[in-house]
Symmetry: C2
Subunit: 388 residues, 2 copies
Amino acid sequence: MYEKQLLLIPGPTMIPPRVLRAMSVPPMGHRSQKFSQVVKEVSENLKKVFQTKNDVYILTASGTGAMEAAVTNFVNPGDKVLVLVNGKFGDRFAKINKRYGVEVIRKDFELGKPADPKIVKEILLEDKGQEIKAVFVQQNETSTGILNNIKAIKEAMADHPALLIVDSISGMAVANFPVDEWGADVVVAGSQKAFMLPPGLAFISVSEKAWKVNETCKNYNFYFDLQAARKNLTKDTTPFTPATALILGLKESLNIILNEGLENIYKKQEKFKEMVREAVKALCLELLVKDEKSASPAITAIKVPDNIQWKDLNNILLNDFNVQIAGGQDDLKGKIFRIGHIGYVQDMDLLTAVAALEMALYKLGFIKELGIGVKACQQVILKHKEEA
Amino acid sequence: MYEKQLLLIPGPTMIPPRVLRAMSVPPMGHRSQKFSQVVKEVSENLKKVFQTKNDVYILTASGTGAMEAAVTNFVNPGDKVLVLVNGKFGDRFAKINKRYGVEVIRKDFELGKPADPKIVKEILLEDKGQEIKAVFVQQNETSTGILNNIKAIKEAMADHPALLIVDSISGMAVANFPVDEWGADVVVAGSQKAFMLPPGLAFISVSEKAWKVNETCKNYNFYFDLQAARKNLTKDTTPFTPATALILGLKESLNIILNEGLENIYKKQEKFKEMVREAVKALCLELLVKDEKSASPAITAIKVPDNIQWKDLNNILLNDFNVQIAGGQDDLKGKIFRIGHIGYVQDMDLLTAVAALEMALYKLGFIKELGIGVKACQQVILKHKEEA
């Protein structure tokens, strides 16, 4: 059972055998020349995925560690920041800032709605004294399946000098994000999403503008001190012992990503989103995010129907069909469920998940007929084959 | 060449195939019941290795991250602490404290000498106002190969209320350290040493006394917030996505460690230390740590002879014999080299390393005769076989 579980949560995601093999080698000294060559190669390739000329630093931590680095290296206690919140991870940015005594202007958006650039514009226009030092936002909010429009948010910031700090942990290499072109100053990503690796690494890019701000920063953290990361990367190394095995896996997964090509990946992810959304509609379930453009290509959130318990649905999916999807988090527990479609996923995986979901809904009496969701998936698959 | 490199640096250390295989499996959801069972098992087994009844928390970070957690969760800015320094990692504890505005009383000990409990006693006796909130020390100082006497340091602290905070990153499961019996309040360990795993996980135990101090603490870090770790461990989980693959490996390596038995491991490590030290003496090289009792059973530091360059020695070891040992760090660069003997090492590995070292020294003209160091190793091996 366990070995063939279809894991469709929004991370950790499934891992290609090539990547597993790459990690499963005798260890290397982290200060050896051979390992430095690996650090050099992956750092260059990360820049390609981030579409940036700036350094991308590798942190041995979960994504939250890199979110903390994105706060403490660029904001001082007493500073004012704007945090856009579409769900749990926006809330986390607010919490981290508060932890460090940063004054948070928090803007929550309606459940299932993206961050509104107009509101960002209004808030920044009202900030005559330019006291807001940074705008924090998720590119992809994992908890609700929202894809924010980072380009539009940056445009809405106009001439305001605040840094744009983006959590793209579940967005990078899923949805297009040309970091330099769109002008994002600090961007965070994580290994266990589209990078098809186990959790344990996070990546962070820093613009020249952000480095200037960093110079005036108290830089509380020791472990997450990006100045140390910057200094060490000039020697193709890291300040502290990195998760060497994961970095060896990263080398392989970056090759997979760049060989497939970012444009092809973005297209594939749009197809996955379409497959799941069309199936959901066909099954008369309700999508949390109505607007197609704001719906995440990484994860689809679906409302739990009134007469069904998430727990029952999940038990059938897990026990009968060995399919693992995710429930809601915090306030959304029991109210939504989420199908992840990030990374090492293919059409037939999602078709399988939809088929399992159908059977579970059938067993629970929510639908009376089988095959409807699967058919919707099939139609999307064939449509995209024709277009290709 | 690469696959059969003999890696004898003080971490990352070599990894048993069983552990590599345990990590090399399809990923598990980190909030799944199955993964919680793993977290529960490894947490219980970590307590056995730490010889503590207190929780041991798993952090997804290098050891330095856990060192930072050991500062920020128990010390406030403006507090006074005593930091005992035998090398680079003692210095790091001082740096982390200073980063957070903690007033550091720094006591450096002579190169190659252990922390002197008498001096700890004197300093704490002079602290009439009991202003010193914590004493920081390495059990095993990786940079110089010193094993500090934690038991004696705790005894020297007598009735002083300061916390005893110990970095046992390269000491845990190498030298005996009954955390509860010796009264250490906060103890840090890391995956890439005796736990025979790649880098990326750190472990930290917290005493009841330390938790009481924690209540009065500002608890700056978000990612390293041990209150969150504590709360989550009651549900057999972690606050943030953990390095799942490494934790699956940890499950296996803890089984290996506990099956071998801590007492047997400590004995084996003492033998390794004896093998290397006797070989070094036989080769007329100079040990950095003269006192046998203060010499680390994890790593042996050796002075680079006057007429030899470390770089030349290292090149021969690496290129001719595929043996990787470590040089000195920071101020000790070029002045010492270090042979690690932690974790997945056996007698014959060290014998091989000594044989390679001999050949390198012979090539460099430092010795005129071969076999002397190897013979010393052989004698130690056979002596221990007889005693067993």
